[in-house]
Symmetry: C2
Subunit: 355 residues, 2 copies
């Protein structure tokens, strides 16, 4: 379910049982309290029955390995990005959601409605439940199935294309044709396309049409020419993979680490410059299940002290988008991972029904 970008298990870790248990407890405690964790706390609460002094020895080792560090002498220790990574990959115990929680998620996503509102409600649900920012990338247009297409003549050589997708979703685009088509011609071309391709996704429609064109170039009739020209232009993939919905950005202001105005500003500016976020989400499209970016693993400066938990969601077994949450690195991964995972499944199922 979780795919990690690095595999610490591939060679035997130099961490013994005890060090791992301590690290696990330290990370969990830091996630809970947000305060650096000292040796005394660990000695008292970790259940390991070791004196603070021994624990300090272990912590010195962990620090040397780059898994934790201290903000200054004589503060406790805090996990580094690497520490979080190790924690998530090897130490984290995920308790699956209770039946009841899943049901509650399901209710929150809401009754079946049009897909756009489903996505919006998934996004704000993620934000609410996590108290962080929820994000849902819209389905790629070229992955969704075509139901119906209509062409309407506009002035000049322009034609308005109306694509009906998943029964209720509608997309428009205006295309420029090489010559003026009569309403009747447009009607015929639409009929042809509807009969031949309803139910297939846009990308494959386009590919197949181009294929046919090559093969039968000689003996095409008027109708085919019109249909192919139209479809060629109309089904071009949307310029930019997709768009995304986001909710709850303001939640991020609640976290102590985020209260630095400058950092916050940088973050919001990243959200506004959708390109970066989209690119990041795009990477997650191809991952199998839940994926986690910790700190600057995302490669974007602005997400430096943030982590991103994502999962692709599917319609008809085909990945069509990605959703997830963005929050401070010290988020409750054990909760977020199943929540994101389940939400992705629920959203997929709901989208399937709309269809």
């Amino acid at each position: 379910m979780i795919s990690s970008t690095q595999k610490p298990d591939s060679k035997p870790t130099p961490l013994n049982e005890r060090a791992q248990r301590l690290l696990k407890f330290l990370v969990e405690r830091y996630i809970r309290d947000g305060q650096p964790v000292g040796s005394r706390t660990l000695s008292k609460d970790s259940g390991l029955d070791l004196s603070p002094a021994s624990i300090r020895n272990v912590m010195a080792d962990l620090e040397e390995l780059g898994l934790i560090n201290s903000p200054h002498t004589s503060a406790g220790r805090v996990p580094t990005a690497l520490g979080y990574r190790f924690f998530v990959d090897s130490l984290l115990t995920i308790k699956p959601l209770a039946e009841q929680e899943i049901l509650s998620l399901k209710n929150q996503i809401g009754p079946v409605q049009d897909s756009r509102s489903l996505l919006a409600s998934a996004s704000s649900m993620l934000s609410e439940i996590s108290s962080m920012a929820g994000i849902v990338m819209l389905p790629r247009r070229d992955m969704v199935a075509l139901r119906q297409v209509e062409f309407l003549p506009l002035s000049g050589n322009q034609v308005l294309v109306v694509l009906i997708i998943n029964e209720h979703e509608v997309q428009n685009r205006i295309i420029q044709t090489s010559r003026r088509y009569s309403p009747a011609e447009l009607q015929q071309a639409a009929n042809y396309l509807n009969q031949s391709f309803a139910g297939r996704d846009l990308k494959s429609v386009r590919n197949r049409l181009l294929g046919e064109m090559k093969q039968t170039r000689e003996n095409m009739d008027q109708l085919m020419v019109a249909a192919i020209e139209m479809a060629d232009k109309a089904f071009l993939p949307a310029e930019q993979g997709g768009d995304y919905l986001m909710a709850g950005q303001t939640n991020l202001m609640n976290y102590a680490e985020m209260s630095n105005i400058d950092r916050l500003k940088q973050l919001f500016e990243t959200f506004n410059r959708k390109r970066d976020v989209l690119h990041l989400l795009d990477q997650c499209m191809h991952a199998e299940g839940v994926q986690i970016f910790i700190g600057d693993e995302s490669g974007y400066q602005a997400l430096d002290e943030c982590s991103l938990v994502t999962s692709p969601y599917r319609v008809d077994g085909e990945v069509v988008g990605v959703l997830g949450v963005i929050g401070p690195t010290r988020m409750a991964y054990d909760r977020m991972i199943p929540i994101v995972d389940v939400t992705a499944r629920l959203l997929g199922a709901a989208l399937n029904q709309v269809k």
Copy 2:
């Protein structure tokens, strides 16, 4: 050009010339520096040739009137919301924009394109030029002129309505009809509507159809019934006046007064809850020219330390939307007012061309 919600001129102000000049200078200086202004500064720089002591007397009067106050003993004075209001209504001298500035604005709005991008670029231009948040309310759908309407049958009794507006803008809605119509019937209804009503705005189309229905209820043919049912549902005004575009919210983080995380959070949450903002903008629709809300005059707690400068913009002489900027109360009103005013005119003109 500026309409004020209260009219301090209606009864003779108790402020003599000197007090007014001092208040004006104080507000201007505070807007410039963001620091409380003391009696010494006023004495030195106001050009009034008065000693600090005399000035203190005047300031005591102004404070009693509620126009200024001091954050604490022995800080300088700061304008209150009332003070800003008086300043804006009676003291402000607005220098109209230079020809060159107008031209530069015009260029920034950009070449004629589709209306949606025009609005977006107006919004981000306002934000950029003001270093505050720019806001543009989208045109009310029922005010725009209908070019063409098409009906497409969906499954069951559902019909997809495609409205083409201003040549290139397209809007869809799905309506539920009382019975199933054949494609031919739909085609006929659309033809009828297109012939009779192209060029008129949606509201008047709907009104007129309803009128006709009453008059000729007896002798209506099938076609008319279909057309009227369809149009009745299709041209219903959109549920909520419209939507708005906003740019540059993060600019607001730069102002000292706004650096309070809690206040900022409240503000962003207001932006997210579009309803309030829309309601506020809606009020401005009916005003003549530039309108200014200072501090809590807007009636929204969250906009407490913010001011809003707005102006409606017109297409064909008809008000279709509102634009403006949101910033801290101590914004440079003398610059913002002409900028908002001119932008509204330019946007109107640009929209006219698209049409």
